[in-house]
């Protein structure tokens, strides 16, 4: 980890899960401030100025999505949401309200670490993995050259339609992070298309057939059912 220890505010009401996540975070080298309620968590966030907030959606005192909106009013701090499997709607709401990513309980430590890495990377505008200065991004056998607007597999050029290219570069810029249907539709097609996720699905299917070795068992352009898509590098 970095030399100066990064801080995390962890807001989770289930004591056992909070304890486990705190342990995993400490083991990854973070300084952790725990809180069991939204009110206390917000206070901690104001006073500690952490690098990351890990927020459970099912808090007793306030709706998690509300907490995200309030945080977003005054802060750009990365937010990682914890939720259970049956809360797809809340997850999408949380992401659209400004959360950076989510994790479904139960999750393993490697998963947690990978998500945190992706979230923090997007926020540090250095030349990280996702934002190479030469504009070239590679995953698997695919090479995306954003300066020449060219996508290749080995020496073969892959011909993408303009929309496919836009979707791909959007995912590349957010590698490792989930992007909601709504977000991608708005960025690529425009706000009048946000209620037409089937557009995205059709183009995604086309993109997969060109990019993935096996389009029905993708390795990079991953589906988050009911939520959106995520580009996975390895």
């Amino acid at each position: 980890m970095t030399e100066t220890q990064q801080g995390v505010v962890l807001i989770e009401d289930e004591a056992m899960i909070r304890h486990y996540v705190a342990m995993a975070l400490s083991a990854s080298g973070f300084k952790v401030w725990e809180s069991g309620t939204a009110a206390q968590g917000l206070l901690e966030t104001v006073s500690r100025r952490p690098d990351l907030v890990v927020l459970d959606l099912g808090l007793p005192d306030r709706d998690g999505v509300d907490v995200i909106r309030e945080l977003r009013n005054w802060s750009d701090i990365p937010i990682l949401v914890l939720s259970v499997r049956t809360e797809e709607v809340q997850k999408v709401e949380a992401l659209d309200a400004g959360a950076d990513d989510y994790l479904t309980k139960p999750f393993g430590v490697p998963e947690l670490q990978a998500r945190i890495r992706a979230v923090l990377r997007r926020r540090t505008h250095h030349a990280g993995e996702g934002m190479p200065e030469d504009g070239v991004f590679e995953f698997g056998e695919i090479r995306v050259d954003r300066i020449h607007r060219r996508v290749t597999r080995g020496s073969d050029i892959i011909h993408l339609t303009p929309i496919e290219y836009q979707i791909l570069t959007l995912l590349v810029a957010n590698v490792g992070r989930v992007l909601t249907h709504r977000y991608i539709l708005q960025k690529v097609w425009g706000p009048e298309y946000v209620e037409r996720p089937h557009y995205l699905r059709v183009f995604m299917a086309g993109l997969r057939r060109k990019i993935e070795k096996n389009s029905s068992n993708p390795r990079h352009l991953m589906t988050e059912t009911g939520i959106g898509y995520r580009l996975v590098r390895e």
Binding site: I17, Y20, K105, P106, T161, H198, Y199, S215, S216
Partner: protein, 495 residues
């Protein structure tokens, strides 16, 4: 008879009395004045008494006038032809007057009786509108018939199994077999004409719109109550009201029961959901703790690592079972509000395989979805669960190394989707048993593993308007085949 005789006597004595009173005036007043007095008398009689009395009064008063007051007095002899004309005119006038007056009286009587009937029906209707139990109908019905027809009656209502019983507190000999026979009449031929006699009593059906609602039994007793072939219109209307009231109560009762069923189903689903949630949280913690231990434990502790791995596997399995319970609860709760969107089938299969990669380690999965498959309107989460459960089912019942073939083709405006393997297949003759297994396993809590997973599969597919069956392939191995309707997919411009 007696009444009309009385009236006749009254008419005669009235004319005698008037004649005695008027006789002294003879010769002092003009004849028309005297005629007027008799005219008035006839009018009164016609208005108050029967038509026959009025006729008698007409002729009698004409005769008296002719005899006593037309010159030559006290004789039918006449000295001027004009008087004959006067007498004939008087006869004509009294006849017309008496006719009009008695017609008027009839009208009044008729409209009074109509008004009384309407008031009775109104009372009955308002009483019937207020009742909430079939038994409460008895008292107003009996009173209605007693007041209007002066007859005792008993109401027979059907119990839940359709057998008639005597409603309310009543006494009387009932011919139940006859009543039941009328009650069970063919619904297409419901009519009041079906009423039948038994002894002195009359059995009449209370009609509903689709079936008889009950039987009304009339007890005329010793009274000579002749029921006309067509029941009295008032009685008919009253009985129609009763039938409608009973029908309304039937519908209300059915609705109440349906609501109750929905409520208890909802409660069960909610209970299941909260139970699963309560189990899920601590299990999730266990999974995390097991993993933390595994990560922090040095590699040298091989046996402990082995145990931890086994523990994690078991925990994973438990979680997936709890997930199934949650899905089942969700299905029961949201059967009408599936979150349907236009989906790409291949993508959904892909994410299901990705989600099942844990259990599918060592298996070879091949997917062949035809490019002709259109967008399908589905609940993504639920349909993903279908594929996951089918894949899990394969992993559970076939050895490692088994090949799994998932595919979809268009067949006659339907999408046919299959999940097949080259494992041992279903035991001979058991394909149907497995199929019926998840038809009959409705009791969610009583099922586990296998049954629950497949019953979710079936519920989801049925909720999407499709069908599923299981079969053994000729080449060996099990195959689940299901259909989905194509619907009307939206057009997506590809540029």
């Amino acid at each position: 008879m007696r009444r009309s005789l009385n009236e006749m006597m009254l008419v005669v004595s009235g004319i005698v009395l008037v004649t005695f009173m008027v006789l002294p005036l003879r010769g002092h007043v003009l004849l028309p004045n005297i005629l007027m007095v008799y005219l008035f008398l006839v009018f009164l009689v016609a208005f108050k008494m029967s038509r026959w009395a009025a006729l008698l009064a007409s002729f009698l008063s004409t005769l008296v006038c002719y005899y006593y007051f037309v010159p030559i007095h006290s004789s039918f002899a006449i000295n001027d032809i004009q008087y004959l004309l006067v007498i004939l005119m008087m006869l004509l006038i009294v006849l017309v007057t008496s006719h009009l007056a008695s017609g008027l009286r009839m009208q009044i009587v008729l409209s009074e009786s109509r008004e009384r009937h309407i008031r009775c029906l109104y009372d009955l209707a308002s009483q019937l509108a207020g009742i909430s139990k079939p038994e409460a109908i008895v008292e107003p019905c009996q009173r209605f018939i007693q007041v209007n027809f002066n007859i005792y009656s008993i109401l027979l209502l059907p119990s839940e199994d359709g057998k008639l019983f005597m409603a309310g507190q009543a006494e009387g000999q009932i011919d139940y077999s006859l009543a039941q026979q009328i009650f069970d009449e063919d619904p297409k031929e419901l009519s009041f004409d079906k009423c039948r006699r038994s002894g002195q009593n009359l059995y009449a059906p209370l009609l509903g719109s689709t079936k008889n609602q009950g039987i009304l039994v009339f007890f005329p007793g010793q009274k000579a109550w002749t029921v006309p072939k067509e029941l009295d219109p008032l009685l008919r209307t009253g009985m129609t009201l009763m039938g409608l009231a009973l029908e309304r109560l039937g519908y209300a009762e059915r609705e109440r029961k349906a609501m109750l069923a929905v409520e208890s189903e909802r409660l069960r689903a909610a209970l299941l959901a909260s139970l699963s949630h309560d189990i899920r949280t601590p299990v999730a913690v266990l999974a995390g703790v097991a993993e933390s231990i595994a990560l922090s434990l040095p590699q040298e502790f091989k046996p402990v690592h082995g145990m931890l791995e086994g523990m994690q596997r078991q925990i994973g399995r438990m979680l997936s079972d709890v997930d199934k319970l949650l899905d089942m609860a969700r299905l029961h709760r949201d059967i009408v509000s599936l979150n349907k969107e236009w989906q790409v089938l291949e993508e959904m299969i892909g994410s299901a395989i990705e989600a099942s990669k844990g259990v599918l380690q060592g298996y070879f999965v091949e997917v062949s979805v035809g490019r002709e498959i259109p967008l399908l309107e589905m609940d993504a989460m639920m349909m993903e669960r279908v594929f996951r459960n089918l894949l899990e089912n394969v992993a559970r019942h076939t050895p490692e190394g088994t090949h799994v073939d998932i595919g979809a083709r268009m067949v006659e405006q339907q999408v046919v989707i299959w999940v097949a393997d080259n494992g041992p297949g279903f035991p001979f003759g058991q394909e149907e048993a497995i199929f019926s297994e998840f038809v009959h396993k409705k009791n969610v809590i009583g099922t586990s593993g296998f049954g629950l997973g497949l019953s979710i599969v079936r519920s989801v597919i049925v909720a999407h308007g499709g069908m599923i069956h299981a079969e053994n392939q000729p080449s060996g191995g099990a195959k689940f085949v299901f259909t989905l309707p194509v619907g009307n997919p939206p057009v997506v411009g590809l540029d």
